[in-house]
């Protein structure tokens, strides 16, 4: 597929085996992409291929296979560095997931940098994974957690953000795209505010990384985290991008093999970046396959994915509002990929079960963003979330299933 051709969603769908399957006797309509995306054939094949042809431990052996596995592992890191616009592959650290990436920063950077009276700023629309690690850091150091409030529509209050940030702010940790509401955060403004008070910036790119092009240097963030399974890659692998100058001065996080330069019983010294932060045998296959997934996503073209999903979001927003009693939750002016909603008189959990029997997979509940639900005074929402392979027909199937749910329950 070349950038000049139209976005051929049919051909794209054919590359995802699971999209051809049925659930409860109905063709699968997969609209739970914010939880995890489905995998293209090239990713599935790469996983099998690694174990069939290249399996060995990395950076250890002199034998052929170890060299082959190490090369593929290093290539994956370089691919991901390019994908995120990092200055060097040594700024890319493999973790288990975005959550672990944030915990790494909160622990290794935080404990060395943050002390009593300091402040960490997050936002009201964060996923639990970008709240709890900072709470743990604050408990351990006596720092204070400050939260940028949101409006009823799910937009961050930038005036309040400006007031919250000051000389004691050490870190601004904020999502690029809310998983519960679909709000795209004004990162340029927020980063500029953090910079003006000398604070570091961590961007949670878990949701953004498969919906919009990312350039960590243009963003001017210090840390950027993402997870493999949302960018059409495998579970069990995540990424931490860190600015080299910061990673250099941060103490190690976990100790063990690979992360050391030398070990004696008196004293150990640390390996160079990125290995200093990668103790023990990593998920080699997942890292390599993540490189393949990112290559696939780049091949399709994130700008084209973004255009397709944006048109679909507009279609879905319009279509859902035709369902009587339906209220969209998250109506920010700048949104992507997420259609969160409630329906009068029907609990989200019942909606989820009923549409599932029509073959439509959506998520229901608080979406690991309980503070968002508390702020809006609702127990949870039903959430349809889009990916590159979704179509208007998927939205139509959801809408039909919602009409059915109303018929059954009301």
């Amino acid at each position: 597929m070349t950038p000049s051709t139209a976005f051929e969603v049919g051909a794209l769908r054919a590359q995802f085996p699971i999209l051809g399957t049925s659930v409860h006797g109905k063709p699968l309509v997969y609209l739970d992409n914010a939880a995890t995306t489905q995998k293209p054939r090239v990713v599935i094949d790469a996983l099998v291929d690694y174990y069939a042809t290249s399996n060995a431990n990395v950076h250890r052996g002199v034998h052929y296979l170890s060299g082959r596995a190490s090369d593929q592992f290093d290539q994956a890191r370089a691919t991901i560095a390019r994908f995120l616009g990092a200055a060097s592959p040594s700024e890319i650290i493999f973790t288990r997931n975005a959550t672990e990436s944030i915990n790494l920063v909160a622990q290794a950077w935080g404990r060395a940098t943050v002390s009593a009276g300091d402040e960490i700023v997050i936002s009201a629309i964060e996923h639990h994974s970008n709240i709890v690690p900072w709470q743990l850091l604050c408990e351990a150091t006596g720092a204070t957690l400050r939260v940028i409030p949101m409006s009823d529509a799910g937009e961050l209050d930038l005036d309040a953000a400006r007031r919250l940030m000051g000389p004691r702010t050490r870190m601004l940790a904020v999502t690029a795209l809310s998983n519960a509401l679909g709000t795209v955060t004004p990162l340029a403004d927020l980063v500029a505010m953090a910079r003006s008070v000398g604070a570091c910036v961590l961007v949670d790119g878990s949701q953004a990384a498969y919906h919009m092009p990312i350039d960590v240097q243009a963003l001017d963030c210090d840390f950027f985290v993402m997870t493999g399974h949302k960018v059409y890659g495998p579970t069990g692998i995540g990424v931490l991008y860190g600015r080299a100058a910061l990673l250099e001065v941060m103490p190690p996080w976990q100790g063990g093999g690979d992360m050391i330069a030398s070990v004696t019983f008196e004293r150990s010294t640390w390996n160079v970046l990125p290995y200093k932060f990668e103790a023990g045998t990593p998920d080699i296959s997942a890292a390599i396959v993540l490189g393949v997934a990112v290559g696939f996503l780049t091949g399709v073209g994130l700008d084209r994915v973004q255009a397709h999903e944006s048109a679909l979001l507009a279609y879905g927003t319009e279509a859902l509002q035709q369902v009587p009693g339906l209220r969209l939750i998250g109506t920010a002016a700048h949104k992507a990929s997420i259609l969160s909603f409630v329906i009068d008189g029907i609990h989200p959990h019942d909606i989820g079960t009923i549409v599932d029997l029509s073959g439509v997979a959506i998520r229901t509940g608080h979406h690991c963003a309980q503070p968002v639900m508390d702020r809006l005074g609702i127990p949870g929402t039903a959430r349809a979330s889009l990916a590159m392979y979704n179509t208007r027909e998927d939205i139509d199937a959801l809408v039909a299933a919602l009409h059915h749910a109303r018929k059954v329950l009301l």
Binding site: H347, H349, T353, I354, T364, H366, V408, L409
Partner: protein, 149 residues
Amino acid sequence: MSDLSELYQEVILDHNRRPRNFRVIDPATRAQEGYNPLCGDRLTLYVTVADGRITDVAFQGSGCAISKASASLMTEAVKGRTVDEARALFDQFHHMITSPPGSPLPELGKLSVLSGVREFPTRVKCAGLAWHTLKAAVAETPSTPVSTE
């Protein structure tokens, strides 16, 4: 057969729309909180016990159709029973909603309308929330809010 009509039987829909004993008892012998963090179902169960017998029981809260109907049906089923009978009913009900599909069902009268839940493993906790809350409410010692997670 996991179909909708088996899960959302008319009796369940009726109790969801018009829950019975949906009120506060004040004062109650025990007011017990129950919470299912997965879906946000939350209820408070009020129980009045006299001489080992549940003389009044009611609930308040919000939740899905299954959890609300289950709570409503439960209050009808245990009102007037002894605490020991209510505990035995808990065991039978729990068995009914967690037994493998196709296996014999206990005879539980009106409560049997919830047997369809066992075909929907993700919904078992919804049906069980009120019952777990009751079990805690009639326990010897008060407990913290019940969570079905």
